[in-house]
Structure formats: C-alpha cells, structure tokens
C-alpha cells in the first residue's frame, strides 16, 4: 500500500466503526407509576417497599409512596395492616409485632393509594421450604481468584418448583494497619469485608423435575489473603409467575447498547389496579419460602495461588475498615456468625 493511501485508509476506518456520542433527547413526561417490591417469607421480617417512578436521568433517589393503606390478606380472611416506617423510604412494616406466616397459607396484597386507586395481587401460596442438600466451595481463578460456591438440591418430584438463589459472605482483606505503641506492632490491619450478590440467579425444574440439581453455581467469594471465608446462601422457592418476572428482569439488565440488543420493555408484575386490569404496577409481590445454608471454606491450602498473588495485592494504608466498604475488624466475627 502506497503511503498516500494511509490517510485515506485511516479515514475510512473511523467511519466503519461508527461513532458513539452522549446526546440530549426529548424525554416523554409520563405520570409516575407505582412500583411494588415485596417479599414475604416463612421467616419474620417481611419486606415491602412502595415507590413511584421518577423522571429518567434524575439523581438516584427513591420516591416513596406516601400515605397508602396497605394490608396483607390471607385466604383465611385475616388482614394484617402494614404501616410506613418513619425514616425508611417507602418501607412498610406490619402494624403489630410478632407477625408470622404459615406454610400452606396464601397471601395477597391490598393497597389503597391516596388518589383512591386500589391495587391488589392474586393470593400467592407460601409453599414448604426445600432444604439445600449441600454446598461446596471450589477455588477458582476465573473470572477472578475466589471461592466458587456450588449448590446441590433434591427437587421434589410431585410439584413444579422454581428457585432463586442469593448469597452473601465475608472474606478477608489486609491493610498496612495503624501503629500501636513504639514497636513495629500494628493494629487494625485485617478485616472482614462483606460481599452481597444482587444478580438474579433463577431456575425452573421444568426440564429436570424430581431429580437432584447439582453443581448450581450460586456465589463467588473473592480471595485476597489466606484465611477463612464466611458464606451464606439463601434459597427461595418462588412461584412460576415470580420466576418469569425475574427472568424478564434479568434480560432487561443484560442490555448493553449494541445493535443486537432486544427491544426494551416495562417490568410489570402481579399487582394490578382492581378497577382497571390494564393498570399494572411495576415490580412483584413475592411470597416465597426460604432456606439458608452456610459454608466456611478456608484458603490455607492454596499456597501456590497465594504465592502468585503475593506482591500484587492491593494493601491500603491505615485502618483496614476505612479502606474497604462494609468492613469489620477480623478480631470480631461478623454479627450473626
């Protein structure tokens, strides 16, 4: 290729790859929509947040629904009134303490907003929790160093089941510490760092009903220094409708902006205006039984890997807990462990 062609070729290349610029576009003003995020389990502490959509592009602040009348109703005719919790944005909690749920009971949500609109869900059955058979942790270097946690569960054969797993855990980190006294002694150079996995990990037994579901990857606990990891996996037995909701949720989060993207869509759930079936709230009122299982793998046998890491760690100065978010000192076990 002659030198005279180079500029031409360069010019052409820039065109082929397309150009990407941030732009201002006229955005539609739609009336705010109701968002219901609810989770009722076989444990205490139901979660319910009522919020409204806010203008796209505004700062990330939750717009709470004020003054709604909320009931969780059972098919037995009971009604538990939920009240807003002062200081917690959009959160509603049972009026009475000691609220418990019962396996085999179905629960529905009823809301009356200040504008008079009434919303409700169909009754959602609280099914029996399914125990987690086993958790296994395997050391991995992909996509990063850490413990990959796998789960086995025996799927009940007599019913259709849907699962959703979440995980949280503590792993250890190091800092240079804070000097203590006159020697080389330091304090506060090791801490526990919390990691929660908010990604949606759902599964249907449609193709494997009744069999043992094995090697389901449920959590990755990152590895930085030798020591113990504290990992807890939550397994929710969710309804078919909830499973479908989470699948749509997952797909919409996958959008990356390429020309191969699927078409965007609203995430409508199971809470519907009782007088207008086309007025559907965003979000889902989920009734799911939960089981938890813990595993505490120790990263002491991974000498080789650890050696590879030595010298490459990120070790901040000073107090370990100020170097990492949600960290607590290693001398203390995290609460609940």
């Amino acid at each position: 290729m002659g030198t005279w062609m180079r500029p031409l070729v360069l010019l052409l290349t820039l065109l082929l790859t397309g150009c990407l610029d941030p732009v201002q576009v006229p955005l539609r003003q739609e009336t705010a929509q109701l968002v219901v995020e609810g989770l009722l389990t076989n444990e205490a502490n139901p979660f319910l947040r009522l919020s409204l959509t806010s203008q796209f592009g505004s700062s990330y602040e939750i717009e709470p629904v004020q003054g709604a009348y909320v009931e969780v109703r059972t098919t037995g005719g009971e009604a538990i009134v939920f009240r807003p919790v002062p200081g917690e944005v959009g959160i509603y909690k049972p009026l009475t303490t000691g609220f418990t749920t019962r396996i085999g009971q179905a629960y529905s949500l009823y809301l009356k907003l200040l504008d008079g609109r009434e919303f409700g869900s169909e009754p959602q059955l609280l099914t029996a929790p399914i125990p987690i058979n086993e958790l296994r942790a395997e050391f991995t270097d992909k996509p990063r160093y850490g413990f990959q946690v796998y789960l086995d569960v025996k799927d009940p054969g007599n019913t259709e089941n849907h699962y959703r797993w979440t995980g949280r855990g503590y792993h250890q980190r190091r800092s240079k510490g804070v000097p203590v006294g006159f020697g080389t002694a330091v304090c506060c150079d090791r801490c526990w760092v919390l990691k929660e996995d908010q990604s949606v990990n759902s599964f249907s037994d449609a193709l494997v009903n009744g069999s043992l579901i094995t090697q389901r990857s449920v959590f990755l606990s990152p590895f930085y220094i030798l020591g113990k990891h504290l990992i807890e996996i939550q397994q929710y037995s969710i309804s078919r409708q909830a499973y479908q909701y989470w699948n749509r949720y997952k797909d919409q989060q996958k959008r990356t902006g390429t020309i191969f993207d699927p078409l965007p869509a609203p995430l409508l759930g199971n809470v519907v205006n009782l007088n207008d079936p086309k007025d559907i709230a965003l979000g889902f009122f989920e009734v799911a039984s939960v089981t938890r299982k813990r595993i505490e793998p120790v990263a002491s046998t991974q000498g080789v890997i650890a050696a590879n890491l030595t010298g490459n760690e990120y070790i901040p100065d000073g107090d370990c807990t100020s170097g990492f978010p949600f960290a607590i000192y290693i001398s203390e076990m995290p609460p609940g462990w």
Binding site: T13, L15, R28, Y60
Partner: protein, 795 residues
C-alpha cells in the same frame, strides 16, 4: 367468494380460446444490437395502421392495438388481425426502435435495440419505460437500470442494488448499515428476494452495509411493491426478482476495484450457448487493520460469486444453469465472530412447444448457513443454523390475441436447522446442544391471465393456491389454553415422527391489477392482492443480525396473511419527458410475529412461549415526478405512509401498550428523495441524491426506579418515541470513456462523496447508567463524509 373467482377465471379461459379467427401469430425476439443478447422484459408496442379520412384526404393513422412485455429471454408472441402495423420495441437503458410490417401470415420478427450509453435518458432506477407509466397494466413496480448504478453516488465504492431501490417511493431501511429493506411498512423478512428464482434469505454483506449480490453480474432487477405475479408467493410485502447475465453472443470482460473490494466478470459465448462467471472479494481488513488500538481486533471479510451456463439444444429447447455463492465473516474485538453465507443454484429447461405455448421447468436449491463463534477462553463454541430450500416448479405460458394465460405449480421442501451448538477447542466447557430440525412442505398452483379487454382497458387476474405442512419431528407441546403460554403451562407433550404433518395451513390468494386509460397520456391503475407467508424471521432486534433465525409455520405459529389494495393516477407530460403518478395503498396484515416483553429467542425449544400474534396495517400515498430526457434527468418523490401494529392477547399481561395500535419499527411518515443527473460532456455525469426521512420509532425510558437495590429504567410505551429525522446528501462524478455506442473497450470511473455534509444520522439511541444517572447515547454508523473512487474496465 372463492367459487365466484374460479368461475370468473374459467369463463376468461373459455372466452379467450374462442377468439382467434382471421388472425395471424406474431412472434419475435428483442435483442441487444451490439451484443446480440436478448433483452428481458422489453416492451413491444403493436400499433395498427388504419386508413382514415382526415381533412378530406385519406391517410394512414396509427392506432395502438396492444402493448406486450417480452419474457425473461426477450421473446414475445401475440395473435393479431391481418393488417399493416408499426411495431415498436423499447427497454430500460436502450433506445427505442420502430419497424413497419405488413402482416399477412404468421410472422417472426427480430428487433434489435442499441444501448444508451452517454445518452441522457439514462435515468437510474425507473419505474417503467416512457408510455409504460401510463399504458402497462402493472403498477407499483420498479425496474432497476443496473448499468446506471455505477454512476450514482456510492459508499465505499460499492454500487449497490438495494441502496438504489431505497431511492424509490415506498422502499426504506431501518437505518444505515441495517440489513435488508422494508417495503410499504413491511418487515425485512416479508420480501421475497429471488436470484434466478432461488430465494436469498440474507441479502447483506458486512452486517448490512452492502448488498450481497454483485451488481456487475445482474441483468435485471424488478421490485413488485403491491401485486406480485400469481406465479410467486410465500412472502407478504414484496417480490424482488433478480436475474443474472446468463446469455451472451459476444465475449465480454470486466474488472473493477474500489476501496473495499474488487470484482471481475467474464462472459463467453460458444456455439449454441454461453457461459458467465463473476466474482467479488473484499478486503475490509486493510481498513480495519489501520484502526486505533481498541478496534484492532475487528476483522471482516466477504465474497460472492455468480456463474451461469446456457445452452440451446435446438431453437426451441434450451437449458440454463445458474449458481451463486456468498460468504461473510465479522469478528468483533471481544469474544465473538459472526459468519453467514448463501448458496443458490437453479436449473431451468425451456421449451417452445408450439408458437403459442411454452413451458419452463425449474429445479431450485437454496442454502443459507449462519451462526456465531464464541471465542471466550474456556468457552469456545460454534453455533450454526441452516435453512435449506429445495423446489421443483413448472410454468406454462399460452398466448392468445387478447390473452396471456399462465398456469403452473410447484413444491418446496424446507429443512431448517434452528441451532446446533458444538464446543470447539479441547478446554471448552460448553455443552453440545441441538434443536430439532424443522421440516416443511409448501405446495402451490396458480392460473393467471392478462386480458386486454379493449384498447384502453386491461386486466391482469390471477389466482394462486398455497398449502403448507409442518412435518417436523420431535416434541409437540400442548399448553393450558386458560393461561399465557409458558414452559410451565405445558400440560402434555407428544412426540411427532419426522415427516408426519403436525399442522396444515393454506388458502387462495387472488391477485388482480387493472388499467383504464383515460387518454393517451393518463390512466388509472389499481390492484388487489393477498399474500401468505409460511417462513418467519425470528428477531427481537431492529435490523437483521446474524443471530436471528428462521422458523417455519407450525402448530403455534400461523402463517402471516396480508391483503393490499392500491389505486393510482398516472400521467405523462411533454411528450413523455415527464412521467408522474400518485398512488395510494392500504395493507392489512394478520398473524404478524411479535414478541413478549423481554423474550428470549436463542436456543429456545419452546419458542412459542415467547411469540405473540399481532395485527398490522399500513397505508400511504406515493407521489413521483420523473424527467427522462434532456441534459438534466432525475426524479423527485414524496411518500407519506404509516405502519401500525397491535398485540391483542386475551391475557392482559401479554399485551403490548395495552393492546392499542402503536407505530411499527418501519413507520416513517415522511419520505422525500431527490435524484438528479446532469450530463456535463466528455463522458462526465454529475449525480446527486438527497434523502429525507422521518426518524423511525424507538422506545426511550420514561422513568426510573429502584428495585433489588439496582437502578432500573422503565420503558412504559413501546415505540412511543422517534429518532431524530434522517437526511443525507450524496454526490458523484462519473466518467464513461465510450465515445460511441459500439466501442468495446472502455472504462467507468466513479468518484463519490457519501454523506456530503457529514451528518451524524443516528442508527439508534440507547441508554446506560453513567455513575448514578441514566444517560442517552447516539450510535451513528456512517456519521461522516465518505469519499471513494472506483474504476471498472470493460473489454
């Protein structure tokens, strides 16, 4: 209704066969004067000389008897009363020629036309020839002058068939670089693209930047936007019928090169036959390789080849073989590469049994293979999908004085392999998967007649019957009818053995066009057609992409059906210098394929759980003024059209936009195109094209909220927003070195500037979270001026 149509056709046939007393048979062939190649679809106007008394003296007056259209090998035949005639032949890109003849007995005529080279009536894509605009019974038909594409402004040096078509009213694309084209508010997969009668499932090179058919190899290209001939069917919106340069009597060679590709053509006659080979290979990696570092991993390549062989066993029997092969690869710097390619082959046997009766028998194969290579470490895989189409058909043509009768039929066998995933590389953790092959059979039969009722009135009426059977093997699911279809609502699973019909669909498809001439220079034309489509492109993105796949109709995927009405007023002015028309259309579409919100389409064995049937309607008015002669030629057209869809599921949760009609992705209300060519002298022509289109519908977020501790954008109304309007000006200077029409060695140079004022027309606008806030980004595919030079040499 069906019965009545049948009786009407029957009556037509009976009437037609009884009217040939005192007539003779006029047959003939229209050829290129220089190359002796037949001119397909040339127009032959048969004018009778009648003695009339004018101003007291007797004079011969020309009275139009009929206008014919030659077939694909340039031949025509017509019964006419004995008498004196002036026969006039014309064709796109050729000078008109007249011949006086006294017809007493059956006569065979040879008409030879000269090519227009630097002449000025060389307008690019023309709807039809001069009087045809008014006199032909066809309407909404675009015939492309392939020769002139080389003189139009082009991008990266590639003369492009589909880009030339989008300069015509009613033809658009969803964006620059998007594959395929949209006709009158229809989807890309609703166009039947035939290359020598073989269907081409993907017409794109480089993900849609170019058309995968080399214009150098193309003899004719005709687009039917409304009523397609009854012989054809299987797609809803249009027929693009492309034939390759199969026949020649003169050796011809061409080579050409541009910034991205080079191509070559060889045509060689021999005794009683001829052969043609052409090929095009691209080297875009030269361009991609010089990219800034972060793009450097992008690699692309494409090629295409055409071949044709034609042999005459006797003056009455001939054989034509054509073949086509294309291939594409595109690798992104990340971990994926895409590939796709088509293979097509046609064998055609033609016999002229009697002077009035001819038969064509064809065997057609088409194979489209496409897929993805995953290159992620430890996760290497290859996903392949294949469409196979095998067809046998026969068409019989019978010509009478005022009738041109055609009957025929065919059978198509489909085998679609939707997806096969294989791990590649020894360390790959990907598990092999294969979805069951889909099998189908499509039968069709038709009759049609072009009936010249009177000098001013003619009708082309056809009736086609198509039947489709899905014969796939594998699992057939039964879903609970009281619930939205999901994997979880399966109540029964049956296993179907391959070859057993599991679903059968079919029906009649009437096709009618008419012409009523009001004067010699003005006419009203209209038409009605019904079309059915049994193969569907499953795509959840805006344009065709290599991960979209094709699916046959089946138990849960009904055929798409469309009815289209069109009516127009056609008028020529200033001795046919100006051709104008106004045409309106209305199209009603049923069983369109739409998708549930957030549908997952790839490798889904329960695809029916993600599909929703939709209804659609499209309507509009197209206005065009074309100037055909003089130093300045060109055309101005304006289209106003709308295209709507509605998903009206009985389950409220499945409805899109609450079941209301919303604009489809192809709804671009205003379209203006200007095309001008000015002959500068010394072989130079200046061309300019300007396009203005309303932006296509798109969904912008109209809210945001927090859920599961994440920021979620809410898209509450599908297609409620619009991209900014699209407009672009392209110019070119081209030089044709021929000094006279017989010169064999010459070259054509094209210097083009695409997107002269470098407008960043958005292909799409999308939204991402930037820090804690959502932001809009614009993707422009060809957002700057693109210069290019292409040289083609002929000898």
């Amino acid at each position: 209704m069906t019965k009545q149509l049948f009786s009407l056709l029957f009556l037509t046939v009976v009437l037609a066969t009884s009217v040939h007393a005192q007539t003779i048979l006029l047959t003939g062939e229209v050829r290129n004067f220089h190359s002796q190649r037949p001119i397909a679809f040339a127009t032959i106007s048969v004018n009778r000389l009648v003695k009339r008394v004018m101003n007291g003296a007797q004079a011969n007056v020309r009275e139009e008897y009929t206008t014919l259209s030659a077939d694909s090998s340039g031949r025509f035949s017509q019964r006419v009363p004995v008498g004196e005639y002036v026969i006039e032949a014309s064709g796109v890109g050729y000078s008109r020629k007249s011949k006086f003849i006294n017809l007493k007995t059956d006569t065979s005529l040879q008409l030879e036309l000269s090519e227009q080279t630097n002449q000025l009536d060389d307008v690019e894509v023309k709807s039809k020839r001069a009087e045809d605009n008014v006199k032909s019974v066809e309407s909404s038909v675009i015939r492309v002058n392939v020769q002139n594409i080389k003189k139009l402004p082009i991008v990266f040096g590639e003369g492009d068939l589909i880009k030339a078509l989008t300069l015509q009213p009613g033809v658009t694309t969803v964006g620059e670089g998007a594959g395929g084209f949209n006709v009158r508010g229809g989807k890309v997969d609703q166009n039947l693209v035939l290359l020598d009668d073989a269907p081409i499932f993907n017409t794109s090179h480089l993900l849609g930047l170019f058309t995968s058919i080399n214009t150098e190899a193309v003899q004719n290209a005709t687009l039917y936007k409304a009523v397609m001939p009854a012989r054809y069917g299987g797609r809803l919106s249009s027929l693009l019928n492309i034939t390759t340069k199969a026949t020649t009597t003169e050796a011809k060679r061409a080579i050409g090169a541009g910034p991205i590709s080079a191509n070559a053509l060889l045509q060689q006659p021999f005794k009683n036959g001829s052969v043609m080979v052409s090929g095009r290979a691209a080297y875009p990696n030269l361009v991609l390789g010089a990219l800034p570092k972060r793009f450097r991993g992008s690699k692309a390549s494409f090629y295409d080849m055409n071949g044709a062989f034609q042999y005459r066993f006797s003056p009455k029997h001939s054989l034509k073989l054509t073949g086509y092969q294309s291939g594409d690869r595109f690798k992104f710097p990340e971990d994926t590469s895409y590939f796709w390619g088509s293979t097509a082959a046609t064998a055609q046997w033609s016999s002229l049994l009697t002077e009035r009766l001819s038969v064509n028998v064809k065997g057609i194969l088409s194979n489209y293979q496409y897929g993805v290579n995953g290159l992620g470490e430890g996760l290497e895989y290859r996903l392949t999908s294949t469409n196979r189409h095998k067809e046998i058909r026969a068409d019989v043509l019978y010509q009478l004085v005022r009738h041109k009768l055609e009957v025929g039929g065919g059978v198509i066998n489909y085998r679609f392999s939707p997806a096969t995933v294989k791990p590649t590389g020894t360390a790959s953790a990907v598990t092999p998967q294969r979805l069951t092959d889909e099998l189908g059979q499509e039968l069709s039969a038709y009759v049609s007649d072009e009936w010249t009722i009177s000098k001013r009135v003619s009708v082309q009426a056809g009736l086609r019957y198509a039947q489709f059977q899905n014969r796939s093997g594998g699992n057939l699911f039964t879903y609970d009818p009281d619930q939205p279809r999901t994997v979880e609502s399966i109540i029964d699973t049956l296993t179907n053995s391959p070859g057993t019909p599991s679903a059968t669909y079919g029906g009649l498809e009437p096709r009618v066009s008419f012409k009523i001439e009001l004067t010699d220079k003005a006419s009203i034309k209209g038409g009605y057609s019904r079309t059915r489509q049994f193969v569907h492109l499953i795509t959840n993105t805006t344009a065709i992409s290599p991960i979209d796949y094709w699916k046959l109709s089946g138990k849960y995927l009904q055929p798409q059906v469309a009815d289209q009405f069109s009516l127009g007023y056609y008028r020529n002015m200033a001795d046919n210098t100006y051709e104008t028309y106004v045409e309106g259309f209305y199209k009603d579409m049923n069983q369109l394929v739409e998708y549930k919100d957030g549908a997952s389409l790839l490798l889904n064995p329960h695809l029916e759980t993600e599909l929703l049937p939709a209804v659609g309607k499209a309507y509009g008015v197209e206005v065009s003024i074309q100037k055909n002669t003089g130093r300045l030629t060109g055309n101005v057209s304006y289209t106003w059209s709308r295209s709507w869809v509605a998903v009206q599921s009985p389950f409220v949760a499945e409805q899109v936009n609450r079941g209301a009609f919303y604009p489809s992705l192809y709804d671009k209300p205003h379209n203006i195109t200007l095309l001008g060519q000015y002959f500068l002298g010394s072989g130079w022509t200046f061309s300019g094209t300007f396009t203005y289109q309303s932006g296509r519908p798109i969904t912008y977020p109209d809210g945001q909220y927090s859920y599961n501790q994440s920021l979620i954008f809410n898209y509450s109304r599908r297609n409620a927003d619009r991209l900014p309007d699209f407009h672009r000006l392209d110019v070119s200077f081209s030089r044709d070195s021929r000094r006279n029409k017989t010169q064999k060695t010459y070259n054509i140079v094209n210097i083009s500037f695409y997107n002269l004022y470098a407008r960043k027309n958005p292909y799409s606008i999308f939204f991402r979270q930037y820090l804690e806030v959502g932001r809009a980004y614009r993707l422009a595919v060809l957002g700057t001026i693109v210069p290019s030079v292409t040289v083609t040499k002929y000898w």
